[in-house]
Symmetry: C2
Subunit: 336 residues, 2 copies
DNA sequence: CTGTTAGCGCCTTCAT
DNA sequence: ATGAAGGCGCTAACAG
């Protein structure tokens, strides 16, 4: 038998009985309706206090068809930018009185579908999805059950869907253009397995821009892993031979691997080796040399997402898409 | 009017009606009871599929007095080690079929109490608390409502309480002892406002050890903030004058501030300046010089915490306290 | 302003 | 093996 964590709780019935009023009246003071005499309100409040009564969100949810609970779907990867997004979402949710349920997903279709199902079962009032493993069909599944969603990083539209776009494209293209305007080193794109649609898309952007500039033969995809150490080794070997290059990495820790490998080979940054971090964190400023990066305040992304969600639920959401544009922070790892 | 996210849902009633069986039988197949004919089970499963029925966790929770939901209370600080703990907890929760509700708290008593109240209202089956702002009274409040809890980082005991201890003490004392066995530079402890009981405690440990070694006059508390830049400035000024010291910082980014300030002053690490990160992350290995640190796998802490919770709920928890012991990783920022 | 009553969706004895 | 009925704790008309 499981531990009955909420058996024998004080219920609204007891409050009613003890205070001498009816259910309805007690319910009214709980829900802060104004049609209650100050006097009886006080009495009821007193007995609530005295009995230590706390309303059951479960019962309230069932009765009102509202759970005041918002589902958060994030990739189960421990990246700093993800926890920044999370922080933003949770902070704002708290302000608006929403609870948050956290769902981590792995890049596996079956798991994703299971997550969607749990999301539906758990009766969240809405869901914020920031996970590249999610696809169109997942959104429409959610839509079938009328769960309002805001999607981060993918452009999806529909009745109950809002989306937040993360535009790294222009900044990225600009970096590449400028690079080939003055220099000609090849570009090495650190390719991680299953990086998610956002990073996948950005790799595509690089490829595309290279071909626009007729530099396609200078684009090299370098397979690496999420591990700093392994990536370091790969890059070390590569640089030992090539001695130079313009490296683009999706995350700071990978950029650091490039930087450290360069330094250990006595290659100078940014003269021999240039590095660009696509998703910069505070460590791009801490690291020496400081890493040039495309920056976008992910905490802000999370908080805006949650704000959109609350407006969505109050049916006051006007603008159903919001775009964040990344800025280029030229620091010590690039020559421009 | 709020968006009725789950009005008009397919309910168990419809499944019963359409399939031609009763509520009870449908309920049985949902809950995988075995006293159902394979044949009727199949029929019911079919219509569930056909209708797209998903049980409501809310209703289930209300009926069973179990929410399969575990509350997670964490400080609203965006530290890497916290998101590691979180990952560990969520990953394991998923395995055991629990949902997780996330509560971030600020170091403010009123907020904390509010969080405790929400925790109780939200009918979590249990709660894992890793927040230094929490005090004895909060745990006993939770206990009043019979919410099983596991507390990380504080030694609390009681009927429904398990706790995970994070023992950095010995490792820290050892570092200090070794330091004064061979050297004599003063110790500078980077003191952040409201660092939480864990770090507060560790500062006390340092003070205590210093006095044991009769070196109390060599202990200096350096007030800094959470900001890398501000901390850098403080340390830069300090080192410009002192030229040397053994710095102890609670987190990597602060240690990095010390390291960078030293380098910018042409002080060498670890000859002039030594640095010890109390809570090391992967960046202590990435940073150059590599930072010596006390390491403890926080993901593991989170996952063990969740494992204890699941056992708790199944009433199979034998060992109600678990201790993690930090190890000293001597790297390039210390001489030993 | 307050009380009565019927659900919300599901589980669970107790019969059959 | 299956069905009927009461209850989980609360809210929301509808009366009064």
């Amino acid at each position: 038998m499981a531990s009955s964590s909420f058996k024998n709780r004080v219920t609204i019935y007891e409050v009613a009985k003890v205070s001498g009023y009816s259910l309805a009246t007690v319910s009214r003071v709980i829900n802060k309706k104004d049609n209650v005499t100050p006097e009886t309100k006080k009495k009821i409040l007193d007995t609530i206090e005295r009995l230590g009564y706390k309303p059951s969100a479960l019962a309230q949810g069932l009765a009102t068809s509202k759970s005041t609970n918002i589902g958060l779907v994030l990739p189960a990867r421990n990246y700093v930018y993800i926890s920044n997004v999370l922080s933003g979402m949770v902070d704002i949710a708290k302000i608006y009185g929403y609870q948050t349920s956290l769902f981590y997903t792995k890049p596996d279709r079956d798991e994703v579908k299971e997550t969607i199902e749990k999301l539906i079962m758990s009766h969240v009032d809405g869901a914020i999805l920031f996970d590249d493993a999610l696809k169109e069909e997942d959104f429409s599944e959610l839509a079938k059950y009328k769960v309002p969603i805001v999607v981060i990083g993918q452009n999806v539209s529909g009745e109950n869907i809002a989306s937040i776009l993360l535009d790294f494209d222009n900044a990225l293209r600009q970096c590449i253009q400028e690079h080939y305007q003055y220099f000609k080193e090849p570009i090495y794109f650190l390719h991680v397995e299953n990086p998610g649609v956002l990073v996948e898309h950005l790799e595509q952007v690089v490829v595309d821009e290279m071909s626009k500039l007729h530099q396609e033969n200078k684009f090299h995809k370098v397979p690496v892993t999420d591990s700093y150490d392994e990536t370091y080794d790969v890059i070390y070997k590569l640089l030992k031979e090539k001695k130079e290059g313009f490296f683009i990495a999706s995350r700071d820790s990978l950029s650091c691997a490039v930087a450290n490998a360069s330094l250990d080979l006595n290659l100078t940054i940014p003269n021999n080796v240039q590095i660009l971090s696509i998703i910069g964190t505070k460590y791009s400023k801490i690291m020496r040399p400081k890493l040039s990066s495309l920056a976008l305040d992910m905490y802000e992304v999370g908080s805006i997402a949650m704000r959109m969600m609350t407006k969505f639920l109050e049916q006051t959401l006007k603008q159903k898409t919001f775009t964040f544009t990344a800025e280029v922070n030229h620091r010590q790892s690039s020559r421009l």
